[in-house]
Structure formats: C-alpha cells, structure tokens
C-alpha cells in the first residue's frame, strides 16, 4: 500500500518505537484488506476491557513510548473504590484495575469509562473518518451519525489513536456502505424492549448491511442503541439503515445504492416472541437485578425513579451508567431515591467484570439487556430479560 513520507517515518521508528508498533499493525491490516492508502482520523473509541490481552497490549505500547495523537474515549472497567466499599475485591483484581487505569492515562486516553460515547462524549459528524471499537458503538456512529468506521478491534482502534491514521477499506468506502438485505418488519415495534428483540433477529437477518422498513417515524436514542447492541450480539454488523430515518437511507434507491437487495427477510411478531421466550428461561424467586448494558441514559434513570415512588428493592439492584449520568442523577435527586430504595447507581462499570462474575455466579438475575444475559451464561450467571420498567417492578417484588 502507498504510504506518505510521514507514515514511512512512523513505520521506521522516527516517531518512537511505540508509534512504529502501532503503524506496523495498521499497515498489516491495510495490506490484509487491500487498502491503497491511509486516511487521517479525527476521533477514536477504544473498547478497554480490563482483561489480560487488553492490559498487555496497552502496556506494551506505553512501555515503547506510544502516546495518542487523537485522544480516544474508552470503555468501562469497574468502579474500584465503589466495589471495595460494598464487596470484597481480591488483591489481584485491584492491581489489574489500577494498572489498566494507569496505562490508559499514560497513553493519553480520555478516561470516560463509557460504552455509549456516541450519545455524549464522542459524537462524530456525517462523513467523518473515525476508528471506533465496541460492538454497540460502531453501528451507532455509522448508521445514526453517518460517520465512517470499521468494526475495529480494541487494539486496532488504540493503534489508530496513536498514529492518527486508519487504512482505507471496508466501511470507509461508499460501495461497502450500501444496504444489501431488505428487512421488512411486519411486527409493530412499540418500545425500547421491542428494539432489543428486533436487534436479536440478527441471526435470521444474516451477514450483510440490513435496511429496515416498517419501523415507526420516531425512534429514540435509547432504541437505536439497543438495536445496534443486540444486532452485534446476535451477529456481526458494522452498519444498518432505517428507511427514511438514518442519514444514508432517505429512500430505498439511495439505501441500496441503486442495486436490488440480495435478499429479503421478514420479521414478524412471532420472531420477536420467540426471542422473548428464549430470554425468559423460567419464573420464580429473583436473586438480583442488573441494568445498563449498554449504560442507561438519564432519561431511563428518570423512568426508574418514577416507578420507585418510595418503594424499596427486595433484591440487590445495580443500575449501570456513565459518570455524567451519575452526576446528573445526584443533582436531580434521582440518586437519593435509588439509594433510599436500597439500589446502587454505579458509574464506570461494565457488567462483564469481576465484581459481578464473583458475586452472581450460579444466581438468577433480571436485566433489560439480551446482550448482558447472553454473555453472562459463560460465567455461570442466568438471567431473565424483561422490559426496563418490568425489571424495576420485579426487583421491588423479588419474584417473577
């Protein structure tokens, strides 16, 4: 692939060994996908995970002197100080979280610890070339904002943040952004929960770029977030279109780039019910509630507070949000209502982290998120997935 003089100097180590490692990875990716050149990025988001490979790679870059030329926002680990107050955190887990924080600080990341950067801290404009990892983030920035990102690995996004460049391939190019699957939604889609279920039809939709028709005129940010997050749990989707709603799909002609769809998929209420049942293994006594995968917004926290009305949670209830939402919740009096009910409003924390693996193993929880339920099975935690408001009512009753 063609490299500018500056890019060659990066590769040759003139900008330091760390930049050279990052550039080498990116040239490798570019050559693998037949990229002709590099493009400059203006934003990045790294799916920090506080897991072994994540820490190993960021420390490797830091030790080689790398520093981000485009400061990336990052995903959550867990709120160490909060969990040390309410539960036991092993020395090993404390060390790991501290090292992860330190390494990302040293490399120049913006420590947002937020899996929903596309709703606040890192919003691209239409057509902007960016490098986003995190499965709910990539479809949102491509589909809703019309920015251009490949479905980056956390490590490739970090390399892009260091070099400020990405190889030009995949979803950076017009021809790959057009839809190729027509998804006719016959089921009436009424609320956030329906978008969770619709996203999980990703397996039926299959590989490609879906164009959804039959959705309501108004779709909220939370609904769009749910759709993308669940599509990328059921399958691998860098982008989707919603006819007459997302920027690159004003009409069918434009959405499909003048071509005919390769196939048509019909989604019925039965399809959605089937997914709903899959995530509803059984009823009975509930051990805990875990909400916010992806993080809940301040509007969703407001809905929770409206239901609580002085009631108390009968089970341990964790509501995961970003640090701004937690601050707002405090100012708006929501935090007090949740804490008075015995619940936890937790910032900077992913549901796929040690405090939950350790304490919830073998237990039966409720969540609003199929993604949370799906990934937790490998950790031996079972969930029933309910609508957000139902989760709160059930957490108050303690039983489904």
């Amino acid at each position: 692939m063609y490299l500018t003089d500056e890019e060659k100097r990066m590769l040759n180590g003139e900008y330091g060994e760390g930049t050279a490692i990052a550039m080498k990875v990116q040239v490798g990716i570019g050559e693998a996908f037949g990229a002709k050149r590099m493009l400059e990025i203006s934003r990045a988001h790294v799916a920090l995970s506080n897991q072994e490979a994540d820490l190993w790679f960021v420390e490797k870059l830091v030790n080689a002197g790398a520093y981000c030329s485009v400061p990336p926002t990052v995903n959550p680990g867990f709120d160490l100080e909060y969990f040390q107050k309410i539960t036991n955190v092993s020395e090993e887990e404390v060390t790991m979280m501290k090292r992860t924080r330190e390494a990302y600080k040293k490399i120049g990341a913006i420590l947002t610890y937020d899996c929903t950067p596309y709703l606040g801290s890192n919003i691209p404009r239409m057509g902007e070339i960016i490098a986003f990892s995190e499965s709910s983030a990539t479809p949102y920035v491509n589909s809703v904002w019309g920015a251009r990102s490949n479905r980056e690995a956390s490590q490739s996004a970090l390399c892009a943040a260091v070099t400020g460049k990405v190889p030009e391939y995949g979803f950076l190019l017009d021809e790959n952004r057009y839809g190729n699957i027509l998804v006719e939604v016959q089921a009436e889609i009424k609320n956030e929960y329906d978008y969770q279920l619709l996203g999980f039809t990703g397996k039926k939709i299959g590989h490609g770029v879906p164009v959804f028709t039959g959705l309501p005129d108004k779709i909220s940010p939370e609904e769009l977030m749910n759709l993308g997050a669940q599509l990328n749990t059921a399958g691998a989707f860098s982008m989707f279109h919603i006819l007459g709603f997302t920027p690159e799909a004003p009409d069918l002609e434009t959405a499909f780039g003048g071509k005919k769809p390769e196939r048509k998929v019909v989604i019925t209420r039965e399809d959605l019910n089937e997914i709903g049942e899959y995530f509803m293994p059984h009823g009975g006594k509930v051990d805990f509630a875990l909400l916010g995968c992806p993080f809940l917004t301040i509007n969703q926290v407001g809905k929770i507070v409206a239901i609580l009305k002085g009631e108390r949670f009968r089970v341990d209830t964790y509501i995961l949000v970003n640090s701004l939402t937690k601050e707002l919740a405090e100012k708006m009096g929501y935090l007090k209502v949740i804490e008075n009910a015995g619940g936890h409003l937790v910032k900077d924390t992913c549901m796929d982290q040690p405090p939950f693996w350790n304490n919830m193993k073998g237990k039966f929880g409720i969540t609003e998120s199929p993604k949370c339920a799906f990934y937790s099975r490998r950790r031996g935690i079972n969930y029933a997935v309910l609508e957000l408001q139902e989760c709160i009512k059930t957490a108050i009753k303690g039983v489904i």
């Binding site: 490798g28 050559e31 996908f33 490979a53 479905r151 490739s156």
Partner: protein, 139 residues
C-alpha cells in the same frame, strides 16, 4: 516425500512448519482452553481437538474484539498458540489479533490447496514469501 506448492497472500508475517488441523467452522479463540489448547466450544467441528502448535486451516474468526484477542493471548502465554493460520475470510479483529500475537496468517490461497490438504499433513506456511508447501508421504 512429495512437495506441493501453493500461492497465498500474507496478512501477518513469519514462517512456520507443522501438522495441519482443519476446521469447517469459524473460530473464537476464547472458546479454546488455554491450559490444554483444546477447543471446548460445543458442536464446533474441532470440539476436543488441540490447536497448540498446529497449522490451523479455518474459514475465519468470530466473536467480539475483546474475547478473540484475549483468547489468543492466553494460548500464547501457555505456549499453546497455533504455529500459523490459513483462512478464507479475514476480519479486522482476527487480523489485528494475529499481528499483535505474531502468528503467521495468510489468506487467498489457491483453491487447489483445499483439495490436496488432509488432516495430519505436514505443511510449511511462509507468509513472507507468500507460499504454502504441503509435504505428502508417497508410498
């Protein structure tokens, strides 16, 4: 001993020789036990097989960015990573993981390769020279 040579396309540099293991399914390395290098994913075409030190032939990767890299990392730390990988469908996550874990990875292999190759064959993957050699014992 007879040698058969095929062209390929380099994704991740390096050269390695070893016994081949062939998967008809995509692979998520998080579903491989790092201690034994054994595939533990239920109903996977390689369930119960060991990927350690093998030349691994498979269609492509699957799974989120975090788990794929973490899976290969843990295999590397235990000395159980594959020696080289031959794939059909590259994705950013697998490509990145192979490059940073320094495992030779190639794609775009001559179709005939898939007719010749059989489990247990010894193979050399030379990503740098963009060639693959199968060694067959002729009896």
């Amino acid at each position: 001993m007879k040698e058969y040579e095929f062209s390929c396309h380099r994704i991740s540099e390096g050269k390695a020789t070893g016994k081949v293991l062939i998967s008809s399914d995509d692979i998520n390395f998080y579903m491989v036990d790092p201690e034994e290098g054994e595939v533990v994913e239920k109903k996977h075409s390689l369930e119960g097989e060991k990927v350690a030190s093998k030349i691994l032939v498979f269609p492509g990767g699957k799974g989120s960015s975090v788990v794929q890299a973490d899976g290969l990392y843990q295999l590397s730390m235990k000395g159980n990573k594959p020696k080289a990988m031959i794939i059909k469908n590259p994705d950013t996550v697998l490509v990145t993981s192979a490059i940073i874990m320094e495992i030779p990875l190639v794609d775009k292999v001559d179709d005939k390769f898939y007719d010749y190759i059989a489990k247990g064959d010894t193979v050399t993957v030379d990503a740098d020279q963009e060639k693959i050699i199968i060694y067959k014992n002729i009896e």
